[in-house]
Amino acid sequence: MNQRSRHEWRSLAIVIGLLAVLPLLTKNVNVHHVIVMFFIYASLGEAWNMITGLAGQTSFGHASFFGIGAYAAAVAFYRFGASPWIGMVIGALAAAAVGAIVSYPMFRLRGHYFAVATLAVSEIVFQLFVSWRWVEGATGISVPVAREGLWTLQFHSSKLPYCYLALAGFVAAAAAFHWLANSRIGFYLRAIKDSEEAAMAIGINPAKYKLLAMVSSASLTAIFGSIYTQYILYIDPFMVFSMHVSIKIVLLTVLGGLGSVWGPVFGAAVLIPLSEYTRVLFGGTGRGIDLILFGVLIVMVACFQPQGIVGILRSRGRSGKGGQTRDAKAAA
């Protein structure tokens, strides 16, 4: 296992190296936009993977943590002129607190009952933000434009800094997930996922470790909410607390492969460009063709590759005879 972990670290490093070159290959801002969104969503997938992929607690409510992070950065700057870095830290802490306060009592719920509870929490948080005058409610916050720089986390002349900011975030998220998955806690979480009773029998306290996973997942999610705010420079509750955000995170991770550090990477790599370019190509027709195509592709992947994209690569790697193994490596 240890060796596999080291092997995985190495492939991660290679992939990240390749990703770092990617934005330099083009000057096209739209491609840069897709790259930024790819990093952000891949990272959100890693965060979600902690609580769902490892601990087996399906969350349909991660938009609430994402939104809290997004609002923290926006409010810090808009109300107090504070750096979004400060907002980011506050957002991560707030999301962790909300995650802990809300989930702890909910951990008694099993399976879908828990999943629906996360959905309910997220809808309530959404509603609170819509009605909260101090954060401008439904009107949303336009982040005041400031001088470019790392302190303000605003870059206007080029999207490259955002690409690398998001990449750095992604590296941190992937490393965090990888570390957690391969640590002792990771093993405990997987044991809890398989059977809580069995885990308890061998002396693991499920509530404690589930809480830990939820808190890390929530705060990591919030950090990317803050990055998102600084990137878009406008947020309202409908964008960041929308169920669509939660579902998108779920979809791309499941599409890529649940519980693996690679899952969100592959999932986001397929899903984000696909939704962007189907819309660019067919969205202007106004007849929903882009979303029909998008839907068909999702259904096809789900039907023919229920293990996710990671599953394709794994199954080929394992049955690996010569050419196939090489393929898998090349694809990775």
């Binding site: 399906t58 009592p105 909910m106 008694r108 719920l109 099993r110 879908h112 009952y113 629906v116 509870a117 959905l119 309910a120 929490v121 809808e123 309530i124 509603q127 609170l128 819509v130 009605s131 169920m243 579902i247 779920v250 979809l251 499941v254 599409l255 492969g257 649940l258 519980g259 007849r287 929903g288 063709i289 979303l291 029909i292 998008f294 839907g295 068909v296 592709l297 999702i298 259904v299 992947v301 789900a302 039907c303 023919f304 229920p306 293990q307 996710g308």
Partner: protein
């Protein structure tokens, strides 16, 4: 004012309940969350609309068509898509039904445009009953009675018929059921169809007083998630009762706390109830 609110709440609640029964059956029996459930409802409303517009058959009479149609849609969905994902680990079924939902919703826009449509001048349209201070629209009343009848029909179907017992057996333990000679494959397909039939029926009734448009099913599916879990998975009567609770919460909470909070109240009730009954109000 209170009797009026109670009446409106109960009436909407029964319809919510029926929509949730369909979702809950599928969820309870094969552990698949059908994200396209609301879109089945929408397709049913459209078919009711077209049957009325083209052939002048009132939804009050045409409901068997919609029910059968959505039954077939559900059955087909199982055979074509769900069959391949039902035993796959890790939420793949959710992915597939989400994709299906996108397809249905946008196909509706592609074929019939995004316009909001109403069925004018149906038999029940714009009539109402006055019971003292309480006013009840006839379309709503018919929908409520229809929903209750349909829910009980499904309940007795599951309890009393051979297929119903097979559904119960499969939901408890698929492998054991198969060993006992139950054709679980057929049971699954039938259950998906039955879940569809519930929204097919609900869609026909709703089309008499709700707008028909590509997104018209969206909210129902979110509420249905909560109702199913509140009632307890696989519990048909529980879904109806939970539906009524949610309908009342929406009406009373909205009136007394401010209408912008009406769904907040709904979700809050779910969270609170779950603290006391972690397997739903009527689950075990």
């Amino acid at each position: 004012m209170l009797p009026q609110l109670l009446a409106s709440g109960v009436i909407m609640g029964t319809v919510y309940g029926l929509v949730a029964v369909g979702l809950g059956l599928i969820w309870g029996v094969m552990d698949v969350i059908n994200f396209a459930h609301g879109d089945f409802l929408m397709i049913s409303m459209y078919s009711s609309f077209w049957v009325y517009t083209l052939f002048r058959v009132d939804p009050i009479l045409s409901w068997p068509i919609e029910t059968a149609l959505i039954f077939a849609l559900g059955y087909l969905t199982y055979k074509v898509i769900i069959k391949r994902v039902v035993d796959a680990p890790g939420l793949s079924a959710l992915l597939a039904t989400f994709g299906l939902s996108l397809i249905l919703r946008n196909a509706a826009q592609f074929l019939w445009s995004a316009d909001y449509r109403y069925l004018p001048d149906t038999v029940v349209a714009d009539r109402r009953l006055l019971l003292g201070p309480v006013m009840i629209g006839l379309p709503q009343l018919v929908a409520a009675f229809g929903s209750i009848l349909m829910t009980f029909a499904v309940f007795y179907f599951v309890r009393r018929t051979r297929m119903g017992r097979a559904i119960q057996a499969t939901s408890m333990d698929k492998d054991a059921a198969r060993l006992m000679g139950v054709d679980t494959e057929r049971v699954y397909a039938f259950t998906f169809g039955l879940g569809g039939a519930c929204v097919g029926f609900a869609g026909a009734l709703l089309s008499t007083f709700f707008p028909v448009y590509p997104e018209s099913g969206a909210l129902y599916s979110t509420l249905a998630f909560v109702i199913v879990a509140l009632g307890g998975f696989g519990n048909v009567k529980g879904a109806l009762q939970a539906g009524i609770i949610i309908g009342l919460a929406e009406a009373l909470g909205g009136f007394y706390l401010g209408t912008q909070f009406k769904y907040t109240v709904v979700f809050l009730i779910y969270l609170l109830v779950m603290q006391v009954r972690p397997k739903g109000l009527f689950g075990w």
